[in-house]
């Protein structure tokens, strides 16, 4: 296990370096003069020079790059152009809201996907299976920005049971979590189904049935537990994807998390803050994937020896 862990951590180094480099280059993708884009054409020459100095854009590219990487090691991502707050502080303040949303969405996704996928697998090739898989495909095909207005129309405006937007208590979490959770549930339930079908073909399942164990017990105790291992990996990948999906969902529901922060930063051309958001989301994703893989290797020792 120790060697496996060391190897995984070592593999992380080039990825983290590459991600940071791409984020660094982002500001240089801006066509023309980035300072002019951020401040507008009418800005005073003195202001432009000041910002150019602050962003180190007056230095040669190599020196800028070294300074950027140095800053990263101390979590110094610069300051927001508008609030003048350090970027990292702003991001840290937005993290709890996003974490709460992600966990709630994950819970909803699992709560929908497990029974739906299991049902489809057990009733394979029946109307139930086809119905469940059509629902799943429908869920996969409904982007958050389509689902969100429909949910708002039905539950916030139509029934009036939850608020339209904001973060004002548990009720306000329902719609954004549902928006993110449904799409994820759709992908997960397809995975649960195919993984369970795979396991149900194995000899030990045939054996369990032959022993005369009740069907429910075989499916839940023997098959599902094994089928969930690959589902776990997908769950990890999806959790990172949630953070990207949160950009649109949080914006729609005015949920004060990392996603909306990034949207606002894009709108106000606050590029240091955009860079900080992209970097935090990508690094979180990388770490969550690593954690998932480690968890996976704990649950299933065969993985380590591959």
């Amino acid at each position: 296990m120790k060697r496996y862990l060391a190897r995984r951590l070592l593999l992380l180094v080039p990825v983290v370096w590459g991600v940071s480099t791409l984020v660094f280059l982002l500001i240089h993708l801006i066509p023309g003069d980035p300072v002019e884009v951020m401040l507008g054409e009418t800005a005073l020459a003195a202001d432009k020079e000041a910002l150019r100095k602050e962003l180190r854009l007056d230095l040669p590219l190599g020196a800028q790059y070294v300074e950027f990487l140095e800053g990263l090691t101390t979590l110094n991502l610069g300051r927001s152009l508008f609030t003048r707050q350090p970027v990292w502080d702003t991001i840290r303040a937005a993290l709890p809201a996003t974490a709460q949303l992600a966990v709630a969405a994950l819970a909803i996704a699992v709560a929908i996907a497990l029974p739906l996928g299991t049902l489809a697998a057990v009733k394979r090739n029946t109307a139930v299976d086809r119905g469940a898989m059509f629902l799943a495909l429908l869920g996969v095909s409904t982007p958050t920005f389509v689902l969100a207005p429909l949910l708002i129309l039905a539950f916030a405006i139509g029934l009036g049971v939850v608020p339209v937007s904001g973060r004002t208590g548990p009720a306000s979490l329902v719609l954004p979590a549902l928006t993110l959770g449904v799409g994820m549930a759709a992908i997960l339930s397809r995975m649960v189904r195919s993984s369970l079908l795979e396991v149900l073909r194995q000899d030990f399942i045939v054996m369990a049935f032959a022993k005369g164990l009740p069907r429910r017990r075989v499916v839940v105790r023997h098959a599902l537990r094994n089928a969930l291992i690959p589902v776990l990996t997908l769950l990890g990948l999806q959790l990172g994807g949630l953070l990207s999906g949160a950009i649109i969902t949080e914006t729609i529901f005015a949920w004060p998390g990392l996603g909306r922060l990034m949207f606002q930063a894009i709108q106000s051309r606050d590029y240091p803050l955009v860079q900080g958001c992209v970097l935090s989301i990508a690094l979180t994703y990388v770490l969550v994937n690593l954690a998932t893989d480690l968890l996976y290797s704990l649950v299933d020792p065969r993985v380590r020896h591959r």
Binding site: V146, P149, A282
Partner: protein, 271 residues
């Protein structure tokens, strides 16, 4: 093959949706009685009527006409982004798979880095830096789009390149370029075609997402994403503004996903 294809419901439904999308995009000016940017300020936010079956938006523009013209943006971006991604992905993937060694290592590390950005994050960031335009949307989506095809093609090449007929071609003195283009690539096309139909769905959602965030098409050009964004402020008084472009996205994406599933059943005999 065609007979078998037409018995798969996924392919039939998917092709029907694709044809409908092409017809809507090509025939948009003929199919709508009003121009997509034709304003009637006094009739702002009106509900669907006989004259405007999908209703009117804030500026009194015909929503049906805007949905039809929005199909042009979706089809254009979807086709272009997938075309660019498939081309780059196949080229890079086959080079990495066929040459191996340091080329393969470098390509795989680059892919690892690009895949460390979840979903559409990198495209959003790139589009934000490049500035809003349709061409930049295609660039941003292709930036992440090629990776999936490259991985797929590389993996397939690694399998196919050990086949006897490839060794035979090499023994007969065929150059690497000839082996790649004549012997390897044609044999990895099937999964690429399947992936491309899912990729088209992804690119259409990607364009709508970027336009929704204000990073895609600019007003007054209609795109389903930007229409949905405008609709947000009028959900209570004019829900039709969200419902019709939303349905359009859903139907097209669902159709392309059906097509992908159907093509997989058709082309992949293992399942």
């Amino acid at each position: 093959m065609i007979g078998r294809a037409l018995r798969l419901p996924g392919i039939v439904v998917g092709l029907a949706v694709l044809v409908a999308l092409v017809v809507a995009a090509a025939g948009a000016p003929l199919l709508s009685r009003h121009g997509p940017t034709e304003q009637a300020l006094r009739e702002g936010l009106r509900a669907p009527s006989a004259a405007h079956p999908f209703g009117q938006d804030r500026l009194g523009r015909d929503v049906l006409s805007r949905v039809l013209h929005g199909a042009r943006v979706s089809l254009w971006v979807g086709t272009l982004a997938v075309g660019v991604s498939v081309t780059i992905g196949m080229l890079v993937g086959s080079l990495a798979g066929a040459l191996g060694g340091i080329v393969d290592d470098l390509v795989m590390r680059l892919i690892d880095i690009l895949q460390a950005f979840p979903g559409i994050l990198l495209a959003i960031a790139a589009a934000a830096a490049l500035g809003p335009s349709l061409l930049n949307v295609v660039l941003a989506l292709s930036l992440i789009g090629w990776v999936g095809y490259a991985r797929l093609v590389r993996g397939q090449i690694l399998v196919v390149r050990e086949m006897d007929y490839v060794h035979a071609a090499a023994a007969l003195g065929a150059r690497p370029g000839r082996i790649i283009f004549r012997h390897l690539l044609p044999n990895v096309l099937a999964p690429v075609i399947v992936e491309a139909s899912f990729g088209m769905a992804g690119a259409i959602v990607g364009e709508a997402s970027l336009s929704f965030l204000g990073l895609g098409t600019q007003p007054p050009t209609p795109s389903w994403g930007s229409m949905l964004n405008e609709a947000r402020n009028y959900l209570l008084v004019a829900p039709h503004l969200a419902i019709f472009p939303g349905l359009a996205v859903m139907v097209v994406v669902l159709g392309l996903n059906f097509l992908g599933d159907g093509l997989r059943d058709l082309l992949d005999p293992r399942q």
